[in-house]
């Protein structure tokens, strides 16, 4: 929003300035994908979806659908022969020879209205030959399981992913360090457990919407709510044989992403359907039911983990196997399995590790990136085992973690040195906030009260070369336009980038605007808005672009004054000399330059600053051992403590307090970090009670907001306490790194640990529910 120029905030980095997009959003003027207007030529698409979890397609008859008045085209897999994918190119646009999950698109209908498209979709007749499906990832990983991808060996794959053709294993990451077999006998305590998590869904309040226009000159545009316009462009261009320069992806504001709008799911269907009706834009909207099963989900996991420590409480050995239920297509999922593999110790120093992380095809909706990218899934088991070990040797769980958690510079499981963090400070902050160690009474005699702790780590899971770029331009009045390819999903990226640009340039925060929407035609490249990487990576690019602009300005003014640019600086939009105290406002000169003496010519001109950032030091990891010089760019760490009560008569859990603390490097906007912590605590808590359900044929049972409940205003903890620590990252803007995902990673295991503290009952499987707690209490009482 344009604040009046009389309000200004100097040096905004580190200050809780108001969000740059709040005004638009509270007035209802912020435009999202479904709000864009396309005029009377807009047509509408609906997808025909498979009713079977696993089947061969024998025949598709579209004639009845095409015969309906108002139907303009029907597209099938025969029209889309090439797969798409980011790390593993395994997914068809429309199913070709077979379907692999209930809900897989087999055809797309384009019609003049949504109602006609929906009616016509019902008239597409598909003949199937049902095949045996498999839903459990451990079962699916066995050699005799039904094979979902006979052509796995033929798919293009990134060089750090290792699928096993002839099986349903799309990725196997191995971590071998030290000698676990020699270490077990040295352990005073060993705990082993199997932990199961179901698929859950992002449930953004904005369902996916994509509008695509394939014009008569073969210029293609896709308007969609996207976290990753450039990545989507890349995948779609390759799969539909569109030259990159002919495909434009535009993303207005995103109504919640959480990873679900990062890759490609339904968007490519819209483009393929637009190709069938060149010259007409086609809008494809997901119903809420389709949002649940037809976009993407978080993978399920079966984790089998064994950890041992000595009598003093030092961790000695871990053996772990992860079976991620990747769903029918594992394109993004393979990287989740990999990331879980190279982080499998959790934020602990364990000298002997044997880890195997598998991504496995199952006949269920497609697993893909979701907030945490494997970390919530693996910490669920790890953090409960750590509590169990602490109990076995008689040590306080917080003390156990302080002793064993990874510290700066220590060598972690892949052989790299831990980047700068302070996890102990995070543990201290949350334990203090919940009066850890103090037994506090429940609010009623039939209630039990307990406290639990969990810690976490996560690194951005990226290929080794993910780039960010930024451009800084001025208006005549010296207000600034910052162009980035990064997206604000609600996390506050635009605000943080504006703060960084303003501080670097020396102008007030209120003078900076972000050039929205993100548009591959005009915005500079950004790999993706995922991995909690934007503050760090795009922040570096924005800072570089602003420094570039500043350098140009100082050179021009220095020349004008006959001074050295090093003696000049910019403050509050005015260039000044430290030497002479002369001043030159930016207004005007950032476009027109400055006249020389006696108007004998001019110096300067329109200022454009450009910058980019790409890490250059990430290395590959050995396939057999997972060892390598530098697995990741950095880790962010954090802790959560939960104080809760359980009603033993109903099993209902009431969360009294969630206390969180994260090491963010540098808080560019402290209050925005607090809002991430608050939202993350509720999202993490909610995720412990969520789970997609299917019948024995793989049909979804709860793809709606009544049967799949997410936390409402009535469900939130009585108190959410948030804090942060600032141990600077080596190469971030003012030392900043991300925290957007981390805030929901440890919540579920912290709740589980608190339940054990309250009830003496362990819950190894998600989702939790009042019913489960009640039944567990009944069982323990022997009834």
């Amino acid at each position: 929003m344009t604040e009046s120029k009389t309000t200004f905030t100097s040096e905004p980095v580190g200050k809780s300035v108001p969000r740059i997009d709040a005004y638009e959003k509270v007035t209802g003027s912020a435009i999202y994908a479904d709000d864009m207007q396309f005029g009377p030529g807009l047509w509408y698409g609906r997808l025909v979806r498979s009713p079977h979890a696993h089947a061969l397609i024998k025949k598709i008859d579209v004639s009845q659908a095409l015969a309906m008045p108002g139907v303009k085209a029907v597209v099938t897999g025969a029209d889309t022969p090439k797969n798409f994918g980011l790390y593993l190119v395994d997914r068809p646009i429309f199913a070709r020879d077979r379907v692999r999950f209930v809900g897989e698109p087999v055809a797309g209908v384009v019609a003049v209205s949504e109602e006609i498209a929906e009616e016509a979709a019902k008239r597409v007749i598909v003949e199937y030959e049902v095949l045996e499906p498999v839903f459990d990832p451990v079962e699916a990983a066995q050699p005799d399981a039904p094979l979902l991808h006979p052509d796995l060996g033929k798919y293009k794959v990134a060089n750090f992913i290792f699928p096993q053709p002839g099986t349903n294993i799309s990725e196997h990451f191995k971590l071998r360090r030290g000698d676990v077999e020699a270490a077990w006998p040295k352990c005073a305590a060993i705990v082993e457990g199997e932990f199961r998590l179901p698929q859950i869904q992002h449930v953004p309040i904005e369902p996916h919407v994509a509008v695509s226009l394939w014009d008569l000159s073969d210029q293609v545009t896709l308007w969609t709510c996207s976290q990753s316009p450039f990545a989507q462009r890349d995948l779609i261009a390759q799969s539909l044989d569109i030259p990159h320069g002919n495909l434009r992806v535009v993303s207005p504001y995103v109504g919640g992403g959480f990873g679900g709008k990062a890759g490609v799911s339904m968007e490519i269907c819209a483009v393929a359907m637009a190709r069938a009706v060149k010259g007409h834009p086609v809008k494809l909207r997901m119903t809420r039911e389709e949002e649940f099963i037809g976009t993407t989900v978080r993978q399920s996991l079966v984790a089998r983990t064994k950890i041992g420590c000595d009598a003093e409480g030092n961790l000695l050995a871990m053996e772990t196997a992860y079976y991620f239920g990747g769903g029918a297509y594992n394109d993004y999922g393979v990287n989740i399995a990999r990331a879980a593999g190279y982080s499998c110790t959790g934020p602990y120093l364990i000298p002997n590790v044997k880890g195997d992380s598998y991504c496995v095809y199952t006949n269920l909706p497609v697993g893909s990136a979701m907030r945490g990218f494997g970390m919530p899934e693996i910490h669920w088991g790890i953090e409960q085992i750590m509590d169990q070990l602490a109990e076995k040797i008689g040590m306080d769980p917080a003390e156990f973690r302080r002793r064993n958690c990874v510290k700066t510079g220590e060598t972690i499981l892949t052989g790299m040195k831990m980047t700068p963090i302070d996890l102990v400070a995070c543990i201290d902050k949350v334990t203090e906030a919940v009066n850890w160690g103090k037994d506090e009474p429940p609010s009623a005699p039939h209630k039990k009260r307990g406290k639990g702790l969990a810690i976490m780590w996560k690194a951005p899971a990226m290929p080794p070369n993910p780039g960010s770029a930024a451009i800084v331009r001025f208006n005549e009045d010296a207000t600034v336009n910052v162009s980035i390819g990064a997206q604000d999903l609600g996390q506050g990226a635009f605000t943080a980038m504006a703060q960084i640009a303003a501080q670097t340039l020396g102008v007030p925060y209120e003078w900076v605007r972000i050039s929205v929407p993100v548009d591959t035609k005009y915005s500079p490249y950004e790999w993706q808005t995922v991995a909690s990487r934007i503050t760090w990576s795009t922040g570096n690019a924005v800072r570089a672009a602003a420094l570039d602009a500043k350098r140009q300005i100082l050179e021009i003014v220095a020349q004008h004054w006959g001074e050295n640019p090093e003696d000049l600086d910019i403050k509050d939009g005015v260039v000044f000399s430290y030497r002479t105290e002369e001043e030159q406002p930016l207004k005007g000169m950032v476009i027109y330059g400055l006249p020389n003496d006696n108007f004998e010519g001019w110096t300067g001109g329109p200022i454009i600053g450009q910058g980019h950032f790409m890490p250059t030091y990430v290395t590959n990891l050995d396939f057999e051992t997972g060892q390598g010089t530098r697995a990741v760019v950095h880790y962010t760490v954090g802790a959560q403590a939960v104080d809760l009560e359980v009603d033993t008569e109903t099993g209902e859990i009431e969360i009294l307090k969630i206390a969180s603390a994260y090491d963010v490097g540098k808080a560019i906007n402290p209050d925005l970090i607090m809002t991430q912590i608050e939202g993350g605590a509720v999202h993490g808590m909610s995720s412990a009670f969520e789970g997609l359900k299917y019948d024995e044929a793989g049909r979804p049972l709860n793809p709606n907001l009544v049967d799949y409940r997410i936390a409402t205003a009535m469900d939130i903890p009585r108190q959410i306490h948030g804090d942060f620590v600032e141990t600077p990252v080596e190469d971030g803007p003012w030392g900043a790194r991300g925290v957007g995902e981390h805030v929901m990673v440890p919540t579920a295991p912290a709740i589980a640990n608190a339940l054990y503290n309250a009830l003496g009952v362990r819950f190894n499987d998600l989702p939790l529910s009042a019913e489960k707690v009640y039944m567990a209490l009944k069982k323990r009482a022997g009834k």
Binding site: P18, D21, A22, Y32, P204
Partner: protein, 158 residues
């Protein structure tokens, strides 16, 4: 499908519209009047993103037929700030960082507006009850509740 001509007052302006029998109020607002501040989150009355005020009462506009609004008054988020001056609730949402992705925000503002109109000094529980039908995935509701409390404390209804 029969078309009906209705007269409905939307954000203070009388509108005469031709609507099919089965058109929802949500579709009428978004497609006939281009009031895209009213959001579509589920079209099943489950998320509250489409909340508008019908004669002052909060309703899920996806669950109301357009024809039902003939002769009635509708207030949407676009009607909260006539002539550009933000309502106290809108101002409070900005000040308290009660907005992240913003998609639930219009619905939240309408439910909150109705709440403070009928109950100018709600307790925290009353606020949470009034918002239970408005889902948010980003904020954890904390700041939304705080923003509404701050307006209630000021004694100003929107």
């Amino acid at each position: 499908m029969t078309t009906h001509t209705i007269t409905v007052t939307v954000n203070g302006a009388k509108e005469r519209l031709d609507v099919p029998s089965n058109m929802t109020l949500l579709k009428m607002l978004r497609e006939k009047l281009a009031l895209t501040g009213v959001k579509n989150g589920c079209e099943a009355g489950e998320c509250g993103a489409c909340t508008v005020l019908l004669d002052g009462e909060p309703v899920n506009s996806c669950m109301v037929l357009a024809v039902e609004t003939d002769g009635h008054e509708i207030l949407t988020v676009e009607g909260l700030a006539p002539e550009g001056e933000l309502s106290p609730l809108q101002q409070a949402f900005i000040e308290h960082n009660a907005v992240q992705c913003g998609y639930c925000t219009p619905g939240m503002l309408m439910s909150a507006t109705a709440l403070l109109q009928r109950n100018p000094h709600p307790t925290e529980t009353e606020i949470k009850e009034a918002l239970v039908g408005n889902l948010c995935r980003c904020t954890g509701y904390v700041r939304i509740i705080k923003a509404i409390q701050s307006v209630a404390e000021q004694g100003a209804a929107s």
